[in-house]
Amino acid sequence: MSLPSTLPVLLGLAWLVPLASFTVILFFGPRLGPHGKHGSTVATGAILTSFVLSLAALIGWVWEHPVQTAKHEAHHAVAAKIDAAEKADGKIETGIPKTGDKSAAVETEGGESHEHAGPVYYSGEWYTLVSVGRLRLTVGYYIDALTIVMFTMVTLIASCIHFYASGYMHEELHEVTDHEVTLSDGHHLHRPGRYPRFFQYLSLFCFSMLGLVIAGNIFMVFVFWELVGACSYFLIGFYIERRSASTAANKAFITNRIGDWGMLIGLMAIWGSLGTFAFGDKQTPDGKLAVAKSGGAESPGIFSLVRRPENGHRLMTPEGMVRDGMSATAVGVATDVAKTTAEPEGPAKIGHWLLIVAGLGIFCGCVGKSAQFPLHVWLPDAMEGPTPVSALVHSATMVAAGVYLVGRFFPVFTPEVLLVIAITGGVTLMLAATIAITAVDIKRVLAYSTISQLGYMMLALGVGGWLAGLFHLITHAFFKSLLFLCSGSVIHACHTNDMRKMGGLRKKMPWTAYTMLVGCLAIIGGGIPFLIGLSGYYSKDSIIAQALSFKLANPSPLCGMMFYAVAGGAAITAFYMFRLWYMTFAGKPRDQHVYDHAHESPKVMYVPLVVLAVFAVCVGWPIFQLPQLLEQARPAGTGITINGGVFAPTLVHPAEHLSHEGSIHITATLVASATALSGFLLATAIYCWRLISADEIRNQFRPLYNLFWNKWYFDEIYQKIFIGPVMFVSRRVADFDRQVIDRFINGCAVAVRQISVLDDLIDRWFVDGLVNFTSRKIFALAISLRGVQTGRLRQYVMLIVVGTVGLFVIVSFFWNPAWGAGPPLKP
């Protein structure tokens, strides 16, 4: 079987197996073994199957598309040539098609033209959800190197976490006493365990997450986007009896929905003008482009529409958006849009804002999902969920989905949008890092660290470091899930999250302590400069390098800030991570009671830690060529320097390969090492050697400390400016119904009743009165006429005669002679 037909089957199965597991546990959960113990077996088996299938897909992919460093270099050479050509041209390029010279230059590179023709991918449709006219919403797949790497990463980490969770959640196998819930009678809550339910949700989550990754169109991404949100809701709120948990779950879902609102707007902008959601072009079953009779793609996807192959994959406003933009500005439908777009001036601007809206909208969804500023508030609260959930959903996979989507949608983002992404990432990374310094809840420190690292990735993508961002996504997934699982192990042992009650635990739980040390070193990018390092060393290095490259290319101080944020963030990261490690594992126990009860976790829990630690160390090593593999999926036309957007003409996004070169690379490595080292040393000085007192610093910087401790008051501000007003409006609306509309209706009814009473009075007094009056008068008249009734015959005869004569006289006055002649005329 050929790869294009095998891969969809493999990954499709890998995607659906967890759904099967979910269904099985849903219906038979409590009956799977004693207390549903085998629920974990089913779920773990399912995710392991998915992992094996993904691994097979990965091997198949690498077999067919071997990673070639040489080719990679050659690609750089091509890209450099194009750059040079562009510089020679000296014009702002975006949106303006340059038919001819440059694309021709690309074509003439001969053997390398394939490389520049865009990434290798297989896309297709499985299922049509809705089809109206030519508009179709489908379920399909888009498989490239990124998809496969994500699949392998997600299933591998999820497998580790499933094993870990089967140990961590064992309490749920029997009656649980929840010490955090006090009932109205003063007792703690007793409830039956919910072991199988937990694995049911995990399976549903894995299904949704894999669906998100394999999605062949942005609509399907949205569908699974919402589904992972729902799974996250259930998992955060797993301890449904705890009010804090259910509130955190609501907060997470609603905050995400705010992001989804933006995403929906982005979807509308794309849908309304392009009429398609597909990423890739329609393909024939053997993975070749389906060619229409006219020679172009039969039904091009979004990527080809915004970066048309005939324009050398340069980003330009697609035809549909130009048409839409013109109709919105009431210019009217041009007779020939193509003619207009061919003109050098103007067309890029018309409808270009739609491209920006689309990009910002999609990014808005990513802001929600990846907990970026200003929607970052839900993630720390989400730590109310069980720790395996925090490790899987809220650090490694789901929250990284936002970064993944930015990477996937990268070709559609205009330079302006990329700048917004970079700024958002920069703000987030500093914000979260500062809060992490003061947090004392071990999981919250990690949560803020996650937000900060996601900010790193966003920033990397925003400054043009597509590869750097996604590379960091993969490495971060391993070491952050490792860190979370270690923290879970600690919590499992100590029954508290508060680091102020820990200390010295490395003697009690060495496996946990040292795997966590590996995680800490990985996240700060530990390593020997220019020689070797942990996975974070490589990925963080490339981010710093790209930020530096961006700074050098753009003289604006705002762009320079990106680099300083990255460098400063690296130092703070090193500080708070080692603060965490020292407070937990080093020194003397602060709470003897906790220390005495602490114990190393069972094997089923620490073996996954070791596995993840191994990956956290070496997944970034050059011999595994992970960046080169990802590079295969680089969107067409994004490997070169982009000069300026339509609305930000001076902005330069330097090509990513430039950051690997000489001085930039060396400076970046030195900066990364220096910052990490300084943060590490500071933490060591304060929390290990105790040269400086932490309390002293706290008192010195009281206002700043308060700001960080209260998380920059975001929750309070949001309560004031969003939640309060919404509740206010909703109450006013409900009041309006009762007080205004219903009053009006009731008033009408009352008025009608009053009128009817009046009507009744009129009837009684006026109409009836008149009738009665008349009848009384007539009666009186009759009585008085009785006098005529004398009974005398002569008098009667005389009255008859007088009457008859009178009649004749009257008739003779009015008689018309014509009446007698012929039939009466019709009027």
Binding site: V130, V132, G133, G332, D737
Partner: protein
């Protein structure tokens, strides 16, 4: 063939009424038997509607049953003269728009009757009224004669009044009379519009082929005979009215010359009826208000919360599940096709009403303390999608008369009606389940139901998430289709309608938290909280299963809906291009100076002294646009 359709459709509509008649002879002391009988009747009706909907194999002989999927037009029509002096027919038929609603009606009626077991007061009367109500509902969806439609519309009204007013909660009389008066106001407005349309309609304008397809004439000869008649041939036939409404010179658009007491074909001009608006504009407004009350759209929605709060559970299910759909059905079947000109002009009005309902309903729902009131307001919000989806007339000049986005909106609206029928009926049922146990609906006095009633909570969360529009459940498809289609009509409304997803998530999740989550139950009668009974499960399982099924496989409905809805939209898009904008591509304003038009500027000529000379001068009169005629006053001599 006609006869077999007639038998089947008539049976579907009148079987419940027949059941009600039989029920009248049941002994009073056998409530159980009566309930079972009524349930059996509704089950038979449901089976019959499924038979109606059963797909006919392509190319197979059109047997008496079955529905040809993929056909846009009416199917299984039959027409029998009823009141001949007014051209009223007993005319029924179905297409992809009405059929899903018919099946939904019979399905929900069956479930609602199954949910009627807790009703113990005057069971016989209750069941009789319920079955009469079902006849009314089915009749509305199936009738194609406007008069017949109106009759069924009213038939539906009265049983509902009694069902709320007798079997309802403490304020039932207020709620019932409010419901009755609101709806009656709507029907009266509708009646006025019907009569307006009836007395301006003229069958002679239609081609012989059309007359045959709309079942006015059995053969071409009859059709030609009708066309050659000297006087205007008024009609209540909805299909004929649709055809007339979309004519290039629609009689509903204004007045023409009058001869022998009727307008002369070919003389129509846009003219004013009142305040500068023509007849179909006013007819549209009247009909729309009538249907908007039923939907219900803000600001004529306040009957709904009261009616729901007071109505017993099964009646709430029917009210939310079926009765509200009649509003949407009326707009889609009557307002737009018959009065396209007005629909085009009023698209913004309709869409604003829709978006307003969505936002307003969601805000109001968030503030409610009563569980049923909250669900009622969520209905207002969700039905707003329907109005919005129908109204997004984006097939205009600006978009090159592309009907697809509007068709998507209307398909989404129709789907939303079905989906809401399932999810809202489910929500009301589930609220009823807990009300039966603890006899209160105060949202602040629940909590912890998850632990006490786990199965029930599972169903409730499933159904509530369907209402929230979670992908994979039925609510999502309709909402997302409508929302996506709004963009091409108006960016602003699109952004507003998309924002409703946040509010919806807000009130539904907050409700789930207050009712189902938390450590313990806080209200009275806590010891009655036992999990669902078998009968309740038998109602909840089909609802949730369908919510999932339609969410995952919406084609099951779109196979029926899409051809008819899209066909209807295409007709309107063509109408926009050929009639509305016929003046030329550069000028999207209503083009009036079409060559054949004459000017009858302000008032139609009084019918008294018209003579043949008048109509012969008609051809010689200089042709001037209406606007210029108005500008110069009515100087041109008559």
């Amino acid at each position: 063939m006609d006869n077999s359709y007639a038998a089947l459709l008539t049976l579907v509509v009148f079987l419940p009424a027949l059941g009600a008649l039989v029920l009248a002879f049941f002994p009073k002391d056998r409530p159980e038997g009566m309930r079972l009988f009524a349930l059996a009747v509704s089950a038979v009706v449901f089976v019959l509607t499924v038979v109606l909907a059963w797909p006919t194999p392509a190319g197979g002989s059109a047997a008496m049953t079955g529905f040809s999927i993929g056909k846009a037009g009416m199917q299984q029509m039959f027409s029998v003269p009823w009141i001949t002096s007014f051209n009223i027919f007993y005319f029924m038929g179905m297409d992809g728009i009405s059929l899903p609603l018919v099946v939904l009606t019979s399905f929900l009626s069956m479930l609602a009757l199954a949910a009627s077991w807790p009703i113990i007061k005057a069971v016989k009367a209750y069941l009789i009224l319920f079955l009469l109500l079902e006849t009314g509902m089915l009749g509305v969806f199936l009738s194609l004669d406007f008069f017949l439609f109106y009759v069924f519309w009213e038939v539906m009204l009265l049983p509902m009044y009694f069902l709320i007013g007798v079997w309802g909660g403490p304020r039932r009389e207020y709620a019932a009379i409010k419901f009755f008066l609101y709806t009656l106001l709507g029907s009266v407005l509708m009646l006025i519009a019907i009569l307006m349309l009836y007395f301006t309609s003229d069958l002679r304008l239609l081609s012989p082929q059309t007359l045959q397809t709309v079942r006015i004439a059995a053969s071409e000869d009859t059709a030609k005979e009708i066309i050659s008649r000297p006087t205007a041939q008024h009609t209540f036939n909805i299909l004929a009215m649709t055809a007339m409404g979309q004519l290039k010179e629609s009689p509903f658009s204004g007045a023409g010359e009058v001869a022998n007491g009727a307008y002369v074909p070919g003389t129509y001009a846009h003219s004013d009826l009142l305040w500068g608006k023509n007849l179909q504009w006013w007819a549209f407004i009247l009909l729309f208000i009538g249907f908007a009350i039923k939907v219900p759209a803000v600001p004529v929605h306040t009957w709904l919360p009261d009616a729901h709060v007071e109505a017993p559970t099964p009646i709430s299910m029917i009210l939310a599940g079926v009765l509200l759909k009649m509003g949407g059905y009326g707009i889609i079947r009557i307002c737009y096709p018959i009065c396209p000109d007005a629909g085009y002009d009023l698209a913004w009005f309709v869409c604003t009403i829709g978006a307003l309902s969505m936002v307003y309903g969601a805000f109001a729902a968030m503030a409610q303390k009563d569980f049923k009131r909250l669900v009622a307001y969520s209905s207002v919000s969700h039905m707003g999608y329907v109005v919005l989806g129908i109204g997004v007339w984006s097939a205009t000049f600006r978009h090159g008369y592309d009907p697809d986005y509007w068709a998507m909106g209307m398909n989404g609206a129709m789907f939303q009606m079905i989906a809401h029928g399932i999810s809202s009926a489910g929500m009301f049922f589930l609220v009823g389940v807990v009300y039966d146990r603890v006899h209160h609906r105060n949202l602040d006095q629940f909590g912890g139901l998850f632990a006490r009633m786990p199965v029930y909570t599972g169903f409730a969360i499933g159904i509530f998430f369907a209402g929230l529009g979670l992908p994979g459940l039925c609510g999502f498809i309709g909402e997302v289709l409508v929302t996506l289609s709004v963009w091409n009509f108006s960016h602003t409304l699109a952004v507003i309608s998309a924002a409703v997803v946040i509010l919806t998530a807000g009130y539904i999740l907050w409700t789930i938290q207050r009712v189902y989550l938390g450590p313990e139950y806080k209200g009275p009668h806590g010891d009655h909280l036992h999990d669902m009974t078998g009968r309740e499960l038998a109602i909840a399982i089909p609802l949730l299963s369908l919510a999932i099924f339609f969410g995952v496989y919406p084609q099951a409905i779109f196979n029926y809906l899409e051809p008819s809805v899209t066909g209807s939209v295409r007709q309107l898009a063509d109408w926009t291009k050929n009639v509305k904008d016929a003046g030329g591509a550069a000028n999207p304003a209503p083009p009036l100076p079409a060559a054949a038009k004459t000017t009858e500027p302000v008032t139609p000529i009084p019918p008294s002294n018209t003579s043949t000379t008048q109509s012969s001068t008609r051809e010689r009169r200089p042709i001037a646009p209406l606007t210029s005629a108005l500008a110069t006053g009515t100087s041109s001599e008559r």
